[in-house]
């Protein structure tokens, strides 16, 4: 059985890994058949969603890994999970946003809403999920063994 193409990434909540997540999400999107014109959107949207998750983990002092799941069984779907559930966020965050971070938060929302297709922010018990979907141009064989002349 050939599995559904899926990539999962999990990283500790540090800003440098947001770059890693962008890199991976764009590489997988390209292979999944997302058109080149949309890749800048994908890059920005995943960066914002992961940046949001990292900021939340740091604000609420959560040591869990931020998790990203990419799948192209159908359109290209990216899910970014943080571990800041209602229980955690009910308490006071140790570092509430202030100054340019507050501005950045507002712009983050605007950017996410504008560049992520079919954006959904779901609240689970364990934390929040940002889910984004982009259309794919064509299906891969999935076997990775297609040979071209």
């Amino acid at each position: 059985m050939i599995p559904v193409p899926t990539v999962q990434l999990a990283f500790s909540a540090a800003p440098q890994y947001v770059r890693t997540a962008r890199l991976v999400a764009v590489a997988v999107a390209r292979r999944a058949g997302v058109s080149e014109e949309l890749l800048d959107e994908v890059r920005l949207a995943i960066g914002e969603a992961c940046g949001r998750a990292v900021a939340r983990h740091r604000r609420y002092d959560i040591s869990e890994l931020v998790r990203v799941q990419m799948s192209d069984d159908g359109p290209y779907t990216v899910q970014v999970f943080d571990s800041c559930g209602a229980e955690v966020t009910a308490g006071d965050g140790t570092g509430a946003p202030a100054g340019d971070e507050e501005d950045a938060d507002r712009m983050q929302e605007a950017l996410l809403a504008a560049v992520a297709r079919d954006l959904e922010i779901l609240r689970h018990d364990a934390g929040t999920e940002v889910r984004m979907v982009w259309p794919v141009r064509r299906r891969l064989s999935g076997t990775g063994r297609v040979t071209r002349g």
Partner: protein, 118 residues
């Protein structure tokens, strides 16, 4: 991919040339540079973003923060940006109505800066 910064003075403006990616990882470096420039007395700052490959909301937050800091002192900041990808980001966030956007450093520094108010 790293961030590189250079500063020069042109016709009464302090031009900060920004190269590379301004994101959640590097925005703090840009913030420190802008704060330094402003605290050393620059009143009219031009951030030249022509060679910026990537800009996220953290980077935008730093630009807005610098503008606020400057305005409090009667100064101002404008941006140089000729890249459609970045211009789109400024439009989405409505920052194109907050910042003066120029197509070149020459255009940004063509008119002598207004003298500081007060």
């Amino acid at each position: 991919m790293e961030l590189r910064l250079a500063t020069r003075d042109i016709a009464g403006y302090t031009v900060v040339e920004v190269r590379g990616e301004v994101d959640v990882y590097t925005a703090s470096v840009l913030r420190a540079k802008l704060v330094e420039v402003i605290d050393r007395g620059a009143g009219n700052v031009v951030a030249d973003l022509q060679r910026v490959d990537f800009l996220d909301s953290t980077g935008l937050g730093v630009l807005v923060g610098a503008l606020k800091r400057l305005r409090m002192r009667g100064g101002d900041m404008s941006l140089v940006c000729d890249n459609e990808k970045l211009l789109k980001i400024f439009r989405i966030t409505a920052l194109d109505r907050v910042f003066a956007l120029h197509g070149s450093v020459q255009a940004a520094t063509a008119t002598p800066p207004a003298p500081p108010a007060g």
